[in-house]
Amino acid sequence: MNAEAPVILQIKNLTKKFAAEGGKMLTACDNVTLNAYAGQTLGIIGESGCGKSTLVRTILQIHPASGGEVIFDGQDILKLRGEAARQNRRKIQMVFQDPAAAFNPKMKVKEIVCEPLLNFGLIKKSEVDTKAAELLRMVELPEDFKDRYPHNMSGGQRQRLGIARALSLEPKIVVCDEATSALDVSVQEKICELLVRLQKEKGITYLFICHDLGLVDLMCHQIAVMYLGNIVEYIGYGRRISTEGMHPYTKALMKSVFKVDFKPGEKIEPLESEIPSPLDLPKGCPFQSRCGQCMEICRSEKPELKEVVPGHFVACHLVNGNF
């Protein structure tokens, strides 16, 4: 989908179902196929409950997949077991949403950032101070923070600490699940600048989950839009969601954004109602119940993700011209 960078992570037909009450199955991720490119950022957007967190959690093997493959380094990492799976975790790390809850409050900063290194036997206990200082420098925190506790730090500083810990093992891929949502805009901007600088220096790939569309647009090389566990649109490198988003859902999301420079009389038009229950997925298009342009075919046949413009995929009968 993008010639400039090699594919680093291939998600193929990944499905995750949870058992629900009454023998029903809840489909959180439905046959998701996506690629992430080396040194670039793949954004995943969608409303709460659309399956974006489940998707990355399945990739990280926090819970097992129900089907599909995740190819990384030439192998399906979902099949790894035991020590091989543990070693693989070094290469894919995560930065969490709430920096206040992500750390053991009784551990000092240096213990927090060096714990992964000690776990993998990469440094000795005597090296903790030097290594901690180096990691703190990397995320632009003062070195003398290493003897502090996380509660003595601000939200932004704690998020830097979270990034330092995630990067301590020099991973290839870092998952940021709403990593900046708990922060103010000014702090958020600085954290994003830090993430981008580290990406350029180390060639890290980010999987960036966020519900701030503006931020995803500015941070990401590619954007996948999810709805009810399905990728409904994939916007490749060089295309802009703001002007070139095509799926009715993507457009509807865009209309819910509060712009700073509202012109008088300009109105937001949020999507009505809520995302339907993933327990009984409708036949046909997942978005049919909220789509203003729903047609006959949308109720009977599920649209496939098709390349509309090079590097730009949409799953919509209307856009794909199936009517």
């Binding site: 950022t41 709460s48 958020q188 509060f258």
Partner: protein, 263 residues
């Protein structure tokens, strides 16, 4: 003038945390307070509501609401005022309701606490009516649910319904949409505007989403480190004067701007 706050100073113990806040608000107006965390936005509306936590107290200035000096209120006065004349919605209304009791029981209890002359059945009817007004489908179902069974947006609507049941003159909203995604955020903000239109209530909205503030507000206050750095009408956003306001506006990610990695 519905709410007149003059030169308000707030201290925790002997430490002055917020100083020199002025707010003039009339019926039907929406005021947004924006600023970074720790700037004192929440402290201000808590002082207005008379519910500063711990050792927090108003150490200077005045708060007048409907012609009445709010700093002279006794606990009993506050108990009568809060909920009926002014009320508050929180970041996650799920946190203010008891997780192990059904929404309906709590809502009717709340109504009966302020209107003891009503019967339980009347209170339940009132509650259902209000849930309907905030566009919650199937109110009886909501009344029978536990908080965890509702989505964040639905819980927030329940919070708004509870806050507006006695048509208060002033609604205080503390980051009411920060925990929500874009669609739900837009729905809830529209709901707050609807509530303002229907009851002609004044609203103070604490938010760090400048887009939201820009969309709904008649008046704005920008706070930093316990001080008001800029206040006024919408012109603050169109033509900011203070360096901090400019910085804050520049930090908002705008759809379609230059990408971070190209800067």
């Amino acid at each position: 003038m519905l709410l007149d706050v003059k030169n308000l100073d707030i201290s925790y113990g002997s430490k002055l945390t917020v100083s020199g806040v002025n707010i003039q608000l009339d019926k039907g107006e929406i005021l947004s307070i924006v600023g970074e965390s720790g700037s004192g936005k929440t402290t201000v509306i808590r002082a207005v509501m008379g519910c500063l936590p711990g050792r927090g107290h108003v150490s200077g200035g005045s708060i007048t609401f409907g012609g009445r000096d709010m700093l002279k209120n006794t606990r009993e006065d506050w108990r009568k005022i809060s909920g009926s004349e002014m009320s508050m919605i929180f970041q996650d209304s799920g946190n203010m309701i008891n997780p192990i009791r059904r929404i309906g029981e709590q809502f009717t209890d709340y109504i009966l606490a302020h209107a003891p002359q009503k019967s339980k059945a009347e209170a339940a009817e009132m509650a259902k009516d209000m849930l309907n007004k905030v566009r919650l489908p199937n109110p009886q179902n909501i009344m029978n649910s536990y908080p965890f069974e509702l989505s964040g947006g639905m819980r927030q609507r329940v919070g708004i319904a509870m806050a507006m049941i006695f048509s208060p003159k002033l609604l205080l909203a503390d980051e009411p949409t920060s925990a929500l995604d874009v669609t739900t955020q837009a729905q809830i903000i529209r709901q707050i505007v609807d509530v303002r239109n229907e009851y002609n209530a004044a609203v103070i909205l604490v938010t760090h989403n400048i887009g939201v503030a820009s969309y709904v507000s008649n008046k704005l206050i920008v706070m930093k480190n316990g001080h008001v750095v800029e206040s006024g009408g919408r012109e603050i956003i169109e033509n900011p004067q203070h360096a901090y306001t400019k910085e804050l506006l520049a930090a908002v990610p705008v759809l379609g701007d230059k990408k971070y990695y190209e800067r």
